[in-house]
């Protein structure tokens, strides 16, 4: 009896050791992946980057997104939504208000306006029970959304937009083509205007990314400016969708903000499930420059 | 609705109290560490058929220190009269456990003191807040327990120890 117990216990210990090897990683520690897949009919993901100009760790999150663009190219469509405590304005140079009422409506839904930043939401899909993920989870979540799904999206979006300088308005035309059958349900399209190259101050803790504790001439990219057809978009189908079916939505006379730079504006289109088990989950995203 | 929830809990609590009131149980078997590094099993706690007081305490707990300091002043008399032994179990974790030995000596306490760093004994005895004091009879059965310390608690405690010493039954709560 006694020796049996001994043996059992030794067996248990050995199995632990067998499983417990250490993985020593040798440099280079970072992958350099230049094999970008591109094309119009590839799956693209929608990444909401919840950020703030007074958020000291946010430049690190932006750096991760930049690195991911090296790997995935334009398959990641990013919008930076300024929200919460870290987006509050104060005396100059922190007097520029990046927040928007449309952005706040979406941020409040996830609770991103009341948590520590940076946070991200990938394709409006929960990861381990939560929409919001930390920056250390960005890369893995993006990889899961792009590498573990078919390359061909269920819906392909063709986006066309024009800026009319005479009256400072935008007109948009979005054409959705189903590339597979989709179940009965509500389908929405959301159209968003973002702006890049806004040079304003940003708090920073990472010396490898710029001066600390603040970068006075930080380049804010893909800043969420407004929703063209309301924060949660508009329904374009409420039925089953069959392969090859097309839908069209157009908007005109969208007035841009007085301080927006028309040459740095982007148009973002997001198609998502508006009800059912996959409610809010993004099917496909698309971005064009104006 | 919330109040209802609350009342239900209270009722069941009382029920439990009444069901378990008569139970006399031995000290659970868990390893604790003496102040000179010896591993001692709690089921081996004994006092030659005399009562034992087991007191859970921590260096950061003022009422605990107050209780043990108050008792230490009368402890020699208690021992002489009833043969009682006090075992003090420190629930300090590794942040504060280094202060246990100097504190015990610094205050000149004459108790048997053990460290319960992993809180195994604390859990086995159902201790949630300190101080929490147990009374063990000569047969090694837990017969009484009490939380918190207020002025005069030690007088009630010694009265119960005397009863135990005389072989009288004591109410479990």
């Amino acid at each position: 009896m006694k020796s049996k117990l001994n043996l059992l216990f030794l067996g248990f210990l050995l199995s632990i050791f067998a499983l417990s090897s250490c993985d020593k990683v040798e440099p280079p520690y970072m992958l350099s992946n230049g094999n970008i897949i591109s094309g119009d009919t590839v799956r693209k993901i929608f990444f909401e980057d919840y950020t703030g100009h007074k958020c000291p760790n946010c430049p690190q999150a932006h750096k991760i997104l930049e690195d991911l663009k090296v790997v995935y190219g334009d398959r990641i469509v990013v919008v930076a939504i300024h929200t919460g405590f870290f987006s509050m304005t104060s005396s100059a140079p922190w007097d520029y208000d990046f927040t928007t009422s449309d952005g706040e409506a979406i941020s409040a839904f996830y609770g991103a306006n009341s948590v520590g930043l940076p946070k991200g939401v990938v394709n409006r899909k929960k990861v381990n029970g939560s929409y919001l993920i930390d920056r250390a989870e960005f890369a893995t979540a993006v990889s899961l959304a792009l590498d573990s799904t078919p390359l061909l999206p269920e819906i392909y979006i063709e986006l066309d937009g024009t800026y009319h300088s005479l009256d400072s308005t935008i007109s948009v035309e979005a054409k959705m083509t189903a590339l597979s059958d989709l179940p009965s349900g509500k389908y929405n399209i959301s159209l968003i205007v973002t702006e890049s190259e806004i040079v304003k101050p940003q708090k920073n803790t990472d010396a490898s990314l710029g001066t600390t504790p603040e970068i006075l001439d930080y380049h804010h990219e893909h800043v969420y400016r407004a929703a063209i057809n309301n924060p949660w978009g508009e329904e374009f189908a409420n039925s089953t969708i069959s392969n090859g079916q097309t839908f069209q939505k157009s908007y005109t006379n969208f007035k841009i903000g007085a301080d927006w730079n028309p040459s740095q504006l982007h148009l973002v289109a997001v198609v998502y499930y508006a009800d059912g088990a996959n409610e809010k989950q993004v099917i496909q995203a698309q971005q064009i420059d104006l | 609705m919330k109040v209802l929830h609350w009342i239900t809990m209270m009722i069941f609590l009382t029920l439990f109290g009444s069901f378990t009131a008569d139970q006399k149980s031995p000290i659970p078997s868990v390893d604790v560490k003496s102040l000179d590094g010896k591993i001692i099993n709690t089921s081996s706690f004994q006092n030659d058929g005399n009562p034992i007081i087991i007191s859970f305490w921590a260096t950061w707990c003022k009422p605990c220190i107050q209780e043990l300091t108050t008792i230490s002043e009368v402890y020699p008399e208690w021992q002489e009269e009833t043969g009682v032994k006090l075992i003090a179990i420190s629930v300090d974790n590794s942040r504060t456990s280094n202060a246990v030995l100097p504190l015990v000596n610094g205050k000149a306490w004459d108790y048997e003191v053990y460290l319960d760093e992993n809180s195994d004994f604390k859990r086995a005895m159902g201790v949630n807040v300190v101080p929490h004091t147990f009374l063990v009879n000569g047969k090694g059965e837990i017969v009484w327990q009490h939380t918190s310390f207020t002025e005069g608690s030690e007088l009630e405690l010694i009265a119960l120890v005397r009863k135990l010493k005389n072989g009288e039954e004591i109410p479990s709560h």
């Binding site: 216990f9 632990i16 499983l19 417990s20 090897s21 250490c22 993985d23 020593k24 990683v25 520690y29 970072m30 992958l31 690190q60 750096k63 690195d67 991911l68 995935y72 381990n128 989870e137 890369a139 993006v142 990889s143 899961l144 990472d206 010396a207 | 919330k2 809990m9 069941f12 609590l13 439990f16 069901f19 149980s25 590094g37 010896k38 003022k62 009422p63 590794s94 942040r95 280094n98 202060a99 100097p102 504190l103 015990v104 000596n105 610094g106 760093e117 809180s119 086995a124 159902g126 949630n128 807040v129 300190v130 929490h132 327990q145 009490h146 939380t147 918190s148 310390f149 002025e151 709560h173």
Partner: protein
């Protein structure tokens, strides 16, 4: 309503089940358990920043039961957060069986399946524990085997960690051995010198699906410890290391981590002292590399500072920096004998404590890499060089003397330095504060006492000066207290705020009930003989505690 019914029914069935089972089927055995519920009614108060909640009332409750029959033990804990009280993570919301286990507890072999808590040595590379009042629980869920021989205990475990109502993604494997040389080697049996040795190894497995980094899927950590006791002297040394573990808290650097702790003690009747020195470098170890904050820690690197019980002394507590800190602590306890000039009629107790924590020295690995840059080895360091930044220091002295049979007085002075950026994460002026406390007991007749506590905190930084006065009445199990906490504020920046509150309660045996009303700031509250942490709030709160 659904939960109330479910919970009540469940309790009822559990109870009948256990009693019948123990009485009839298994021939005896015992059932023990405990119960606690905390409830708070929230009222909005914009002055102190207290918020109301949609549900108006919040509850945190648990009910825990153990069944023991000879060598067999089983237990479970039901937890309910409907919704969690403010200050607790919102992810606690919900109810269910959080903790279930079965255990065989033999003379030599102990096997546990289900949830369990474990600590290797001081916890440097593995510690799982629960602090109900802080809303912390990183219980292990898996299998643990302990094998006990004379003077030797070997522990092995495989488990995942509890993550609120879920499990963390990483798998933890660990082994530990603890040896008492005096019991193993016959020659040393009767020697005065006692020697203890221990060693452990812990490994975490987590898959790598990161497209940017080459991540280690298995990360190992190891530790060794040594203790020696001889008469009044004792010494402890513990050291640990961890291989490359790029994670959220170290900004994805591949440097190895290490930590060490040395403790020297001398004590005899009436005098005791300890000296400690500790260092930690890149030792934050979790069962999810993407986690931070209170989520999923495996290692435990404690703050090497005193834990204060008085509310104002506990106002600026040090937050331990597992990824880089060097600290020293000295603790002296001395009792001036009764009859001496300074000793008085009953003797005087003196406790002096000093703690200091600094950053570790860091230097860039080469000219093109910044210190701590992600995807690199991070930095180079020197074990014996102290970093430039002061994180924390605390000097405090406590004097306690019983003046007569009726009067007992404690006085305390404390000087604290608190680095705002390190401890709270925002760039504000560091706090220098002086604190004075008088704690007086008047036992005016048997079983009756009045307790006065007067505290004053003086600082130019943060929220400025604080004062606190408490009067408490005790009679047998009954107590009632009035507390007035006052913040002077800083002129031109913040307004003065008063936090009044009243508390009353009753203890009978191991059952305790307390009720309070008023405003509370976040902190540790000690009244009626028990201490617990409380979040900032305004309104009624209630606590019930029971063990059986």
């Amino acid at each position: 309503m659904k939960y109330i019914l479910r919970f009540s029914l469940l309790l009822f069935f559990l109870q009948s089940f256990f009693f019948n089972l123990s009485a009839q089927l298994l021939g005896g055995g015992e059932v023990h358990g405990s119960f606690q519920t905390d409830g708070q009614l929230y009222q909005k108060d914009s002055v102190i920043g207290a918020e109301s909640i949609a549900e108006k009332v919040a509850f945190n409750s648990f009910f825990e039961m153990r069944y023991i029959n000879k060598n067999f033990e089983a237990g479970m804990r039901y937890e309910l957060f409907m919704p969690p009280m403010q200050g607790y993570d919102v992810r606690w919301k919900g109810a269910g069986f959080a903790n279930k286990y079965v255990r065989y507890n033999g003379e030599k072999l102990e096997v546990t399946a289900g949830n369990f808590y474990e600590q290797f040595g001081s916890g440097m590379i593995l510690r799982s524990y629960q602090e109900w009042n802080l809303g912390f629980d990183n219980a292990l869920n898996g299998v643990r085997v302990k094998y006990k021989l004379k003077g030797l205990t070997i522990t092995g475990l495989v488990a995942k960690q509890r993550f609120y109502w879920d499990l963390g993604p990483g798998t933890i494997r660990g082994v530990d051995a603890q040896v008492s040389l005096n019991e193993v080697i016959d020659k040393l049996k009767d020697k005065k010198t006692r020697i203890g040795l221990g060693g452990s190894f812990v490994s975490r497995y987590q898959t790598d699906q990161d497209p940017l980094y080459v991540l280690p899927e298995n990360v190992g950590a190891f530790a060794g410890r040594f203790e020696i006791y001889r008469a009044a002297f004792n010494m402890k040394f513990e050291a640990s290391g961890k291989i490359n573990d790029p994670n959220a808290s170290n900004n994805m650097i591949y440097k190895n981590g290490n930590a060490a702790l040395l403790e020297l003690g001398y004590s005899k009747k009436g005098f005791g002292m300890t000296l400690q020195a500790a260092r930690a470098d890149n030792m934050d170890f979790r069962s999810n590399r993407a986690s931070s904050g209170f989520d999923l820690p495996i290692s435990y690197i404690p703050a090497m500072t005193a834990q204060h019980a008085y509310s104002l002394a506990a106002m600026y507590p040090y937050a331990s920096q597992a990824n880089g800190q060097m600290g020293l602590q000295a603790n002296i306890f001395y009792k001036i004998k009764k009859g001496k000039t300074l000793g008085g009629k009953y003797g005087t107790n003196i406790n002096i404590n000093y703690a200091l924590s600094q950053s570790i020295y860091k230097q860039a690995i080469n000219d093109s890499t910044y210190i701590g840059q992600n995807g690199t080895l991070g930095y180079e360091t020197d074990l014996f060089k102290i970093g430039e930044d002061r994180y924390y220091s605390d000097f405090n002295i406590k004097v306690q003397r019983k003046l007569s049979k009726k009067w007992d007085v404690s006085l305390m002075f404390m000087n604290v330095f608190y680095n705002m950026l390190i401890n709270e994460g925002h760039q504000e002026a560091d706090v220098h504060a002086n604190i004075g406390i008088a704690d007086i007991w008047w036992k005016y007749k048997p079983f009756n006492s009045l307790h006065f506590e007067i505290q004053e905190l003086v600082t130019q930084q943060d929220q400025g000066n604080w004062s606190s006065v408490m009067i408490e009445y005790n009679r047998k199990g009954l107590f009632a207290a009035v507390i007035a906490l006052y913040n002077q504020g800083i002129s031109g920046q913040s307004d003065p705020v008063l936090y009044p509150s009243v508390t009353t309660g009753y203890t009978q045996g191991a059952n305790r009930f307390s009720l309070s009303y008023g405003k509370q700031r976040e902190g540790i509250l000690c009244v009626g003989g028990v201490c617990r942490a409380v979040p900032a709030a305004n309104g009624f709160s209630i606590t019930i505690n029971s063990s059986f």
